[in-house]
């Protein structure tokens, strides 16, 4: 067998599992099945361990057995394409959401997304956050044309369950060394959407909820709207240009103070 074919055959066997192909049994000295299984089992154990490390609150909420079952199902359909194993699992929240059967499953999917975004913020690039003072020299006529983009650690998400409360409870249980089984408190419940902003201004990731109107304004700015377009859209909503400019300026000041935005 040529090297390329050997590698593809080994990879298929390790990822897909199942019976050892005859070609691989013949390719190595006996006991072939037992020896190849070391690699196949190690593959699943390693990816599962990486997911548990990256998503400890999800693992605690699920409990050992349920977490193992869910990540096994995910690993079976999701080969890693990442150089670092710590990047494996980005698709797990969507995988959990797609298979959700009840509100607890929905909570776990949102908890996974929230925890993943916190982890992503942990080692994101610092970027070049603009400060309020950076805008002091901008002439009034130029303010409408101002554009911004998110710093690399910024993440926006919305929850429709009490997933963040569950994340807090799981983290407290982990910190107290009391996260051995599935965590049922708080009980899962659907809620009106809550908007969240995640950032890492210095070395620790932080998050806070956003009022819906502020979240919508921030999303427009991050999507490429100028500050002027944001004010116009807000004025149309509020029916008051002065109040719109005041609100937009207040939000912008808060985002800049939080280190959320870079100048474009």
């Amino acid at each position: 067998m040529k090297l390329g074919e050997l590698e593809r055959t080994v990879q298929r066997y390790i990822h897909d599992g199942g019976a050892l192909p005859a070609a691989l049994a013949a390719a190595v000295a006996p006991p072939a099945t037992e020896r190849w299984q070391i690699y196949a089992e190690g593959y699943r154990l390693r990816l599962a361990e990486a997911l548990g490390t990256q998503l400890p609150a999800l693992a605690a909420r699920c409990g050992r057995d349920a977490f193992a079952a869910r990540v096994a199902a995910f690993i079976a359909v999701t080969p890693s394409v990442h150089r670092s194993i710590r990047d494996y699992g980005r698709e797990l929240p969507a995988h959990l959401a797609a298979g959700a059967r009840d509100v607890e499953d929905e909570l776990r999917a949102e908890l996974a997304e929230f925890e993943w975004q916190l982890a992503a913020a942990f080692d994101a690039a610092p970027g070049q956050p603009a400060a309020v003072t950076d805008l002091a020299g901008v002439a009034a006529d130029n303010w409408p044309a101002l554009r911004f983009r998110a710093v690399p650690s910024l993440a926006r998400l919305a929850t429709t369950t009490n997933a963040v409360a569950a994340w807090r409870a799981a983290k407290a249980a982990i910190d107290a060394g009391a996260a051995s089984g599935p965590l049922c408190d708080p009980a899962p419940e659907r809620q009106a959407p809550i908007e969240w902003l995640i950032l890492r201004p210095r070395l620790d990731a932080e998050f806070r909820s956003l009022p819906a109107d502020e979240a919508a304004a921030l999303d427009r700015l991050l999507a490429g709207d100028t500050f002027g377009a944001l004010c116009e859209q807000l004025a149309a909503t509020l029916g008051d240009g002065g109040a719109a400019a005041l609100a937009a300026a207040g939000w912008l000041k808060g985002w800049l103070q939080a280190g959320a935005l870079e100048r474009v």
Partner: protein, 275 residues
């Protein structure tokens, strides 16, 4: 380039603060390259702080030099950027493949020891050395399968690769022991078979002995059989830079520093024998 850095530890996050607070008796640290191919945050901040106080070596796990997939130039560019940042004494990875066609199995899979594999590896190693502007240091991996297509021993394969590429060797003493048990060869034959002048560094780690075979776990202290082989390696290759690895069941920094003391003691004994 072959100057010994002394006795080092693998840099692991649970020890970041203790290293900076206690300045342990460790001569150098080896960092897992992929853990620091990130934009910023705490990992890079600690690496910068520790790099300011200790020599550092970069040790990768995803180069996949033996893969038949094309070299990942984006990955190599990121490795080069990290090297520019932390100025490692050298850069190492493993003589293995980790996946093909864009997939990463996150394992260090062995290659068959064939002329085909040598001819595949040599231009890839040359290319990596050009891109990183330094000799690549390659580690022998532990293995659980032995290919029937292999036309030479692992040490003959390593020797041929060194001759073709000028790469250097990271001699993992534990891996040699593990593979010797799994494939039934004499580890000292391996030790005697590799070109001594190409060996840059030693690795030491723990393993799990299951009787019928041995698993390279890095989750326990180094076992006596490996310490014994380490002594032989020192006699054959000289007192080169030695690195103690622990990746699971990570104990306190003090415990690892104490275990590193055993490596120092063995090296001291070997040096006194030679004097």
């Amino acid at each position: 380039m072959r100057r010994s850095l002394g006795f080092g530890l693998g840099l692991r996050p649970p020890h970041y603060t203790a290293i900076l607070d206690t300045a342990p008796a460790v001569d150098w640290f080896e960092v897992i390259t992929e853990n620091y191919l990130v934009g910023g945050g705490r990992p890079l901040a600690f690496l910068d702080a520790i790099r300011a106080r200790y020599p550092v070596v970069m040790h990768g796990v995803s180069l996949s030099i033996g893969s038949t997939a094309p070299l990942d130039l984006n990955y190599l560019a990121a490795v080069a950027r990290l090297a520019a940042r932390c100025e490692p004494e050298w850069i190492s990875d493993h003589l293995c493949w980790t996946g093909t066609g864009g997939t990463n199995l996150h394992d260090l899979l062995p290659l068959p020891y064939t002329t085909e594999a040598l001819e595949h590896l040599a231009p890839r190693i040359h290319r990596v050395q050009e891109l990183l502007r330094r000799p690549l240091v390659l580690e022998n991996v532990s293995s659980y399968v032995s290919y029937t297509s292999s036309a030479m021993s692992e040490w003959e394969f390593l020797s041929a690769l060194v001759a073709r590429t000028g790469c250097r060797l990271l001699f993992d003493v534990n891996n040699v022991y593990v593979s010797s048990r799994n494939h039934g060869f004499d580890p000292r034959q391996f030790l005697d078979g590799v070109p001594a002048a190409a060996v840059q560094q030693f690795h030491l780690a723990g393993h799990l002995d299951l009787g019928t075979h041995v698993i390279d776990t890095h989750d326990a202290p180094v076992r006596d059989e490996v310490w014994d082989l380490y002594g032989h390696a020192l006699r054959r290759f000289g007192c080169l830079s030695t690195l103690l690895e622990r990746d699971d069941n990570i104990p306190s920094l003090e415990e690892l520093v104490a275990e590193l003391g055993r490596a120092r003691a063995i090296a001291s004994q070997v040096l006194s024998e030679a004097a």
